[in-house]
Subunit: 341 residues, 4 copies
């Protein structure tokens, strides 16, 4: 098996994560080129990881015949462009979420991908987290019986700047999209209907930017299961990511990870460590598993476990949640998909 040559488009935070993950944890692949419109960022990331080539032009990757696959970590508004060009050039694609903020664009990308017969994987890293994977496995094994209620808690340690919020597509497409994907992943069925309530509790600037920072979303699945997601842009105690599934056969839940297992018994109480505060620490194993899967999928021509349909439907559910919040009523995902909501 020859070593996979990979080009990374986007040298920001998540581009760095994927580059370093491949360098450290995926011996079957190597990053051979890094691109960023900010050439200094591309250079810095390339040099730090002994990657030979860097550039400001993404076509140096898509036109390079030695490159097998691209990892798209550019801003959301150029995901579709980069994915389309890469697909036409016959490169396999790993694309960060969301593919785009509207369904038409996503559909066009997926059509091109299909015609080009390249692999297309979407960056829902949490599916690869050992905790959530365990929940999924137990559901698949029938340990909880028929799922009746799935509960997802997803709270960030600190809100993004208001200027980011303005271009993010809104909390549901930027943050909750991970939870929508998780809900589908865990239940193993499709969301039919969404009802969302929200509030501005963390930062008034987020409200001024037209978004919310606190939300509760309920889901109804095709198989009749009920879902709950609760979100906040700021948990002062850190990154809070938990899942619980309740069903006819029992319940499984996973808690956060902490940096150590200590319990300190003092005069004033028992104290222990906060959850890991940073998404990179929490999901370090998930990023490695995700990249290993992508490389294996490409190298061995295996099916992708999280692909275009997942990218499309998570956005559709996000748009349904947005519509529900605006209209203050439950919204059917099928109406969003049909454009009739």
């Amino acid at each position: 098996m020859k070593r996979l040559n990979i080009g990374v488009i986007g040298a920001g935070r998540i581009g760095t994560v994927h580059t370093e993950t491949i360098v450290r944890s995926v011996p079957e692949a190597q990053v051979v080129a890094i691109v960023d419109v900010n050439i200094a960022a591309a250079k810095e990331l390339a040099e730090r990881n002994m990657v030979k080539s860097y550039s400001a032009d993404y076509r140096t990757i898509t036109q390079n015949p030695d490159i097998d696959a691209v990892i798209i970590c550019s801003p959301t508004d150029v995901h579709a462009l980069h994915a389309t060009v890469a697909a036409k050039a016959g490169k396999h694609i790993f694309c960060e979420k969301p593919i785009a903020l509207d369904l038409d664009t996503i559909r066009r990308v997926l059509q091109t991908v299909e015609q080009s017969r390249v692999k297309f994987m979407v960056g829902f890293n949490r599916r690869f987290d050992p905790n959530f994977r365990k929940v999924k496995d137990m559901v698949v094994q029938g340990k909880v019986g028929e799922p009746h209620i799935v509960k997802i808690t997803s709270r960030d340690p600190a809100p993004p700047p208001a200027e980011y919020v303005a271009v993010s597509g809104g909390m549901f497409l930027d943050m909750t999209i991970h939870d929508f994907d998780m809900a589908r992943f865990i239940v193993g069925d499709e969301v039919e209907e969404v009802f969302a309530i929200g509030a501005v509790k963390v930062d008034p600037a987020i409200g001024k930017a037209g978004d919310i920072d606190t939300a509760v979303i309920t889901l109804v699945f095709r198989n009749g299961a009920l879902g709950i997601i609760d979100n906040s842009r700021q948990a002062v105690y850190g990154y809070d990511q938990r899942v619980e599934v309740f069903g006819s056969g029992g319940m499984v839940k996973v808690d956060n990870n902490a940096p150590d297992t200590h319990d300190y018994y003092a005069r004033d109480g028992v104290h222990s460590s906060l959850p890991l505060n940073f998404f990179m620490d929490r999901y370090i194993e998930a990023y490695a598993s995700e990249m290993r899967e992508f490389c294996r999928v490409v190298a061995c021509d295996e099916p992708v476990s999280v692909g275009g349909k997942d990218g499309l439907l998570s956005v559709a559910i996000g748009l349904a949640a947005k519509k529900s919040l605006e209209t203050h009523r439950p919204v059917k995902v099928s109406d969003i998909l049909a454009g009739t909501a």
Copy 2:
């Protein structure tokens, strides 16, 4: 301080709980009379607890000048009758929830109570549970800052018989009513709006009786806090009663109680005890605290901590949830209270 004389109306399961709680844990009071239309039940309960008098006629209690207070544990449909007669006779009243299944009846009872100037306490025992009390105290102390999200999980170990379901007023008024009261108690503010989704997942007979057995309810509070309740009539692993409050200053959550603290490490995993399976075991301390408060309130002429308004509003929220489930839209509690929903 003279010893309080108490009459118990209703010798069923909850009447037994309250009688034995007073005998064992409230030395400042004594049960002097027990009434049940099933005279054998009254006799049996009286004799087992060395209570001198028993009868099938509740007026032997309301007309007994030696009795200071009554505990109403009769079926829901006669709560109002018993409370009204007792109030008019000047007896202080502890009334099991719900006071009635409709708001008009409840309002008439509360009016009589007010005119009679007797104490009136409603049996929301969970407010006296050490776990939930701890959450409440921490919220009041400002430990979680401004509450943003409150989450209540409330699942029974086994569903009631379908014939009971038919006369219960439905899951929201029979079971979730405890959670509606808990939500108000914890947040310390009123629920403005309710949205409910539900399903029949546990027992088709419950569906045939026109009820549901699985539900997710979202709440919006006056202060902008968001609430989530999830219910099931059957958790195969036992009685599951948890609360979590998330706010600007942190999060507090309480877990179930177990009969012991053991962890068993075997070849196939780590195993520990299930939650206490029976409401009596789980809430034994709560029932004792509740009865001690009632007796102290009567004896020392203190204000009641959980009274008529709490009994009224929990039913109003339950009716809003019912309406929401029927109409598949969010319902305002004020519309229920105004009769305009």
Copy 3:
């Protein structure tokens, strides 16, 4: 089954515990007489629990033909006297630990008890704690296989006054005696050898009184299992009582009980409740089970589960530990029993 009449000798802390336990939780028995050389204490305890008779003379109990059984809660130095007289009077006996501080006295008591054919139960209340009972049950069921290592942590929340220490028989006979009994109970076999190290870490006055306040004791059992006990007279975080058994088939351990299950996530860590701080709170269920067993044993002529032999051997192990500490070498329990150590 007639109601058992019980006399309590000693109206101090533990006499109060047993009296109130019977009044509240053992309907099959009643306390009919309380004796204490401090007549005021006897009167106060009797009146508070509606016990008809009280006295300063223990013979008012032993000579009362209506009394079936006595509970001996007097100071250790008169346990033997009270037990002997009671036995000769044909009263069944529950005796607090230790029976006496020397083996000869204990043997004489046990001989009298045997000749009198009365029941004799020793107050090792911890055997009735749900946590330790669970460990015992799992060992008996073979869940841990052959026990290899048993570990007992036993730390008091605060040291006793130095004047008490002076007459207590020393930490091993006053405090660790519970752990010696627990070790025998859990392993289900006899201790053959003891090695003890100790220190004065908590209170120099305890050292001046000739005792220690911190200790580690290792045990070798007849079946080859190894045991560890660690003790302190002062855990600033409360009453710390844990047991762990490790064997060929796995490990089971039990933790402390807390007043509630809350976890509070704040900026500076996760915080939860300390263990129950007071022996009465921790062992309230154990005391009730213990008294119910004693009353059942007497009423139904059943065998005692924790009797004279247990009282004798726990003291013998304590004396071995004392000898080990003095001589700085391991000491055989058989040498203590034979008087040849």
Copy 4:
């Protein structure tokens, strides 16, 4: 700062761990040569990690002027030879524990090291584990006050083959040596006296080889603290590594790490994951921190945190434990060091 060139002597299990740790997690260093008398093993490890040179002769490392430091992972009986030659050649040394099985040899090695003025670090990897590091930090910060009792549980998932046992130096020098070092590390003071009891409980072949497989060791520290270590060669539920420190100000304890945080509530109990079963999984972070420290120490000429004295004293305590087991009495470490035990 130039990149450090490292040679690894010994391509077995631990040599592989250190080699791969440097390749993956220590960008400031590179492994340039691997030696093993089994040349096939050296070749395989070198090729898998893109190390240029391999050999069967350790002098190809010690005589290579381009190599800055050596990592000694050879069998214990040649640690001293390899360390001595490397020191004389001016190579900095990381040496796996134990340095040797007798004190004279260790002293000779340390003398040579001192004369050669090279860095010398001993492989007590557990000091770098985040859990134990947390305990150490809290002790240093005074969080537990004066340490009174330290408890170490250390149990392997499966016993080594009897043929390994025969040349291992015995359980105390092979396995417990880690715990002796941990005890000194945590308490921050020296062990004065040791008492050991042991048994053959896991595998009779270990007994035939003259060793034990189950042990309890008590320690007395110079500052008066008491220590307990319990060991087993086989915990059927996995690798069990816990530490607890109790002191005048409180208690801190750390538990095992698990692969995930799931709790599964089923009809028959609550179930969760076993501890990580393999030392490599449990200590993966510790090995990385350890190697990073070694490389930093060498590159920046910093003091070693775990050095020759630690290597010497852990063996001395192990020899004291051995002597104690043989003579069935407490043994002073100073007598072992003076050769008078």
